[in-house]
Point group: C2
Chain length 317, copies 2
């Protein structure tokens, strides 16, 4: 058994990780190297109450740990939370449109699992995971930008998450690129999200006569369809413009791209990087590197594990 | 005499401060509360060589310290440097168009003054000064944005400067607001600097038939000239748009505005703040506060003093 009191005298034991998402919830036992030893995935109930989530966590944790030998039983866990969070207090401030406000989710998860739980916003978790296990290993300064249903981001400076005054630092998705651009779910027009998210690319594809499918747009471009290719080129320019704002404002040295759209964008990094660098003010900024995620859809789950691995070991009771 | 070895057993002695600018260089003796005890200002020679700057510092430091009683003689100094700097190495990477590259300016200043010197980029110095003595006192998270001949900025997170991978974090000036906007000195179009700097406001004033003078534009607006008022309203919208990008991306909680144009902009903070807040994504971000500089033109000089005040006391020799 590892020594208590926050000192680690023996190799670090595995930890629990919970990626609590809007449609599904993943729980895993993860070792210190980021290896997933066991995993359970359950659907998240629609518009759940906190009590339903506690029941979900309790059932999933029981499944996850059933029959595990003692040396693999997690004694701490991390939780990737689907909204802005007060990490220090363990509180999820808001979640989707569920009407949740200031839910003490870390305490709720600790009650359901019987282990201590640290919580962090899921986008921030992705950045922590890339820093510890992925594309940003060895990079104390970098930005994470994810293109999926929405567009979000996180910033790491000096090895630490930039949280911001209200836990929302990194929100590149609603920076406006084109005042007269397409409408955005946020109510404005021309935000990065309105141009570069998966649904935005799909809508742009439909507007040029395509099937209205982001993946089909990228496939069409790869197959030589000129309209799809022109659309993808325009999307890559917009992504490059967004990343240039991050680059000029934060000088991050490295930007790691994640989210579902990155599976397609990763084939266009030279074009995206060229557009981005053409917009970076000073020569030193232009050494800014772009990399795709090394962790894919597991980034938030592994970030939850990183939270727990960074936590002091609990005292023996 | 204060105790050596980095411990402060007695009230902190005054420090030296050097604000090395493109047209003038200020040196001062500053006490721990930010009070300027004595100051010397000299013109900076045009396109100076490092040797000329060393001679300038030597002469000015001799003037500054002549006849000072021993307990007021600075034993350390800080230097606000006119370009991107490697603060840890004490190196000024570039300066204006002087052709300077990687000048070891801290060592040069130490040789000229006989005291240890810490160096930091002058924009970053302004942020340090506002945090220690000015409008950001008590705010561990805030952004500094300055509107003068150019537009620049700095970011403080958790009480520490965000330096970025190449010392250039905070460069809001060359984020593009309007792709088709006016040309910018950087070679692109529609940058924040091309719309909101002093020269940009002057040019916009000339375009609407004014005298081509930023201060006159603001005076005209205050006096009820409708063309000047419309121009100032447009400038304030552009400033608000730029600050919203900072607000969404960094969630700083507070933005302090500085630079010469702020003497005029400070009368328009409600309009600037309204435009900014209308563009901030989430409700918690919209509590973002705007304040004008509390230190005015002394910000960089007092930031240089803050550098020295934060330095460990030199050992007695």
């Amino acid at each position: 058994v590892p020594g208590g009191g926050g000192r680690r005298l023996t190799p670090q034991a595995p930890v629990g990780a919970i990626d609590f998402g809007g449609t599904k919830t993943s729980l895993a036992v993860v070792d210190a190297g980021g290896g997933v030893l066991r995993q359970v995935v359950l659907p998240t109930p629609p518009r759940p109450s906190p009590a339903e989530v506690a029941a979900l966590f309790r059932a999933a944790w029981t499944d996850l740990t059933a029959g595990l030998p003692g040396h693999l039983l997690p004694r701490t866990a991390g939780l990737a939370a689907p909204g802005p969070a007060d990490a220090a207090a363990g509180v999820l401030r808001r979640a989707f449109d569920w009407g949740w406000r200031d839910v003490p989710l870390a305490a709720l998860a600790a009650g359901a699992t019987g282990v201590s739980v640290r919580l962090e916003n899921d986008v921030n978790c992705c950045a922590l995971a890339e820093m510890r296990f992925g594309a940003a290993a060895g990079h104390p300064d970098f930005a994470w930008v994810q293109f999926s249903t929405g567009v979000g981001g996180a910033v790491v400076a000096g090895g630490r998450l930039l949280r911001g005054a209200s836990g929302l630092a990194g929100e590149i998705g609603h920076v406006v690129l084109d005042e007269g651009g397409p409408p955005c779910p946020c109510g404005r027009r021309g935000c990065v999200e309105a141009l570069c998210s998966g649904p935005a690319v799909a809508r742009r594809h439909a507007q040029v006569g395509g099937r209205g499918d982001a993946a089909a747009a990228f496939r069409g471009a790869a197959a030589g369809d000129p309209r799809a290719a022109a659309l993808v080129a325009a999307v890559c320019r917009d992504v490059g413009r967004a990343l240039a704002i991050v680059g000029n404002l934060l000088d991050p040295g490295l930007i790691v791209l994640g989210g579902g759209v990155t599976a397609s964008l990763r084939h266009h990094l030279p074009a995206i990087g060229a557009e981005m660098r053409s917009r970076l003010l000073a020569a030193p900024l232009r050494s800014l590197e772009l990399r795709p995620t090394a962790l894919g859809a597991d980034a938030a789950l592994l970030g939850a594990a990183a939270l727990a691995l960074d936590a002091p070991e609990p005292q023996e009771r």
